[in-house]
């Protein structure tokens, strides 16, 4: 079984979860299929996945770091750089676009004073484009912390931001 030093990994994963992953990886035929699970656990614990998070995942699963990095960088919901407390995934796919997502995008950028891919100076918000979130029925939509919000108008966006700001300062 893989042995991993706990003092160098405690900022990435809870030690019980780490032990579980190691055990599970030893039991299944293709540990590679756990890449996303481990990366998400690290992201939950640490906020994002730093380089040593990729290396830890590789060590747990018996892979090379680049084999994990290929997956980590493919998905835009795995963060390989620090993000704000609330990551706003704004849908840029077709249904949302026909229902005015461009206007929402412009409004969000103006309100938060950041561009896509950036984080507000107070560390509260990161704005990211996303492909279809699967909630086309409430287009135009955003996803924040796995919650969907829509159909959005500039007013509703203002309300949402205000609520989140409050939550953030609490």
């Amino acid at each position: 079984m893989t042995t991993i030093e706990s003092q160098t990994t405690s900022h990435l994963l809870d030690q019980h979860i780490l032990a579980d992953f190691i055990q599970h990886a030893g039991e299944i035929e293709h540990p590679r299929e756990m890449i996303i699970d481990v990366l998400r656990a690290i992201q939950l614990h640490h906020g994002w996945v730093p380089d040593d998070g990729v290396e830890l995942t590789a060590a747990i699963l018996g892979l090379t770091p680049v084999e994990v990095e290929e997956i980590a960088t493919f998905y835009d919901k795995i963060f390989r750089r620090p993000v704000g407390r609330f990551v706003i995934h704004l849908c840029d796919s077709v249904c949302c676009w026909t229902r005015g997502a461009d206007e929402i995008a412009a409004h969000l950028q103006k309100t938060l004073n950041i561009e896509f891919g950036q984080t507000t100076a107070d560390g509260l918000f990161t704005l990211l484009p996303s492909c279809c979130l699967g909630c086309c029925g409430i287009a135009p939509a955003v996803m924040i912390k796995q919650q969907f919000y829509g159909p959005l108008t500039p007013e509703k966006v203002d309300e949402l931001i205000a609520t989140l700001r409050q939550e953030g300062s609490a």
């Binding site: 380089d51 090379t64 770091p65 680049v66 990095e69 960088t73």
Partner: protein
Amino acid sequence: MLTLTIDNQTISIPAGKTILEAAEALGIMVPHFCYHKELGAVGSCRMCAVTVHTGPMPGVKMACLIAVEDGMVVTTGDETVATFRERVGEWLMLNHPHDCPVCDEGGECQLQEMTISSGHGIRRYQGGKGTYTNQDLGPFIAQEMNRCIQCYRCARTYKDYCGGRDFGVMGSRNRVFFGRFKDGMLESDFSGNLVDLCPTGVFTDRTFRFKSRAWDLEQADSVCPQCGVGCATIPGGRLRELQRVRSGDNPLVNTTFICDRGRFGSGYANHPERPRQARQEDQVVSVPAALTALETQIRATVKQHGPEAVLLVGSDRASLETNWLLQRTAKHFGCRVPVLNAHRQRHQTAQMAAFDLSERLASLQDIRSSDLVLVCGVDPLAEAPLLALALRQAVRKGGRVVLYDPRPVELPCDADRVAVSPLALQELLADGGVEGRHLRDLLSQAKNPMIVAGADLLGLAGLQNIQKWAEKTSNKERPCLVYPVLAGPNSFGTALLSLPEQDDLLTRLASGKVKMLVCVDADPLLEAPEGERFAAALTRLEQLVVLDYLPTSLSRHANLFIPTCPPVEDSGTFINNEGRLRRFQRVLKPGLSLARTAPGEHPPREFSLDTPGSDPQPAVLLLQRLIGQEQPLTEVHRQLVLEQPRLAALVSLKAGEAGVRVAPAVARPHSLDPLPEQPAQTLELVVTPARYGGDLFSRYAPKLEPRKRPPCFYLHPDELQAHGLKDGDAAVVETDFGSFTLPVRSQPDMALGCVLVENSEAFPQLIPGAGLGYCVISAGGANE
């Protein structure tokens, strides 16, 4: 056979081929990127569009993906697809920088060629281009990601074909990046293939960067001399400098891949210490004067002391022609037959391959399509790198590799690996009880079984048993083939030429009758075991004559020295492990490179009619002059074939061709000697060539330095503990060939009961292939 029409031409082609391949066979070039004949098609670039006019779904199709059908009608140049391809070309060029003038790929770039052939010429896109930050991938490969067109060939080469695991595809959409997790030297021993396979200038040969334009290079079809696989290469040189080596194409041997040792290991040709002048004692002499002196000395010595007094020595790195001319030379002067390989055991095992196994030899192509390969006593990455790739292809197609070896053999593919000591392996092959029977059953049941046999580790007895196994497990439907792994590029040819009953070098030297030794492209000190005995014998000689192109210590000690040429400066023939005649053609003429005569400055202002450093001559030519019979190579071949009818193919052989096998010989009868007992309290000694620096050529290849490892003794951790040693300690190992002090390293993947050491320039004392050996290890001694 299916018959179809492409651009009004009809062709019959086997089922399973694609439209692209059919068109190619007709000489119609359909532009393409992502398709490569060894990597296959993935249909990602959309460049190979053609129109299919027949079938239920006519229209624009990707030629690389669509299998040919009977009666199919295809056009490749109609307006629809011509426009389609032009658009694809334009789209692939969107982000591409316009930096061909400073790009090393320029002049041999598929993107340049395909863009032009697609018809895209004028840029319409005015937007910004995607840009990337490049990585430092080490001393061999330069990366320039902005030039990438996302054909995925690099990933398919590095990961899929070669099995490398430190390179990958990152990101998605228009942000795809091909590289490593972090900066650092690419780890695969086949990393250089990125250079050949990337169709643009993303991955270029860093050791060759900014040296020459492809069209300025002198290039020729050659054969890599750095192991017995005999890969097709195309070395390129300019200004008297061998600047790079790239892969040739031999579908039966290496396909379009070579290893990094062969690609980056060519520095010996321009080595600063390469001897370039003839020398008699301490005097520089002209080559003709040296040859006259040599002739006089040989005649006088034979006259005074008899035919035994002059001993000529060839080698397994000298060409077939050179070795044959040595035999000629001996006859001419009335000397006894030459010793063509100073390494007795290697010579015997090579003769096993050249005679007894010759009717059942496997090629690398056979191995690539085998369903069961039993690998015995071979570390492919050290002894025959391209064999490792062939094994990987067998596994990728669903085949199985079973490997028995004492070393911690790494393979770029899955294998059932069993670590056994050399003696245990001999016992297994001698009969092997249940395990032996099980393995023979596996071979018998396989559809296409192959045995890969390491001559160095198995020795004569092991190979004889392998021959028996192969006979027993062959049946009427199919043979069980054998791929012998021999030491040198021409071990097979050297063995085929020499007479079986000859005494070995040391026996002949020990007789005391030898007064004059003439070594041609050979250094028994470095290439044969018992160097000490050889060195002692040297002191009893009256004359040591060396003809060589490597700066070995033997060439420095010679009473008479005459410089020769390496294969890149010569034309000739090697016979590779699989008994295939491989012709190489001269790439460059010998001479001191301009980079050395005028380092970074204006060329020298002294004028002379001769090229500096151009004295070296091919050994074949020197020997011909020595015996006064200068003939073209074709005449040499004609005479050689008269003596050796098995080599009939020699006459029509051309460089760049796949090469023909030598005709098989009848296997000779053998008697098997019983296995020797292991002396009590000893460990088995395993000497293996280092991956880099194991072959003589890569010792004189400065580019390979970053891959070389310091010498040490490897032991299994249990064995270390049993001997009271720990990783990093200095230890003394006493062997039959002397005692040596080196650090020990723990190696859990190797066999118990063994001490493993790598032969390289840093540890040249022990030579692989000397037979079963034993040693005693103890702590102590200071680290060397």
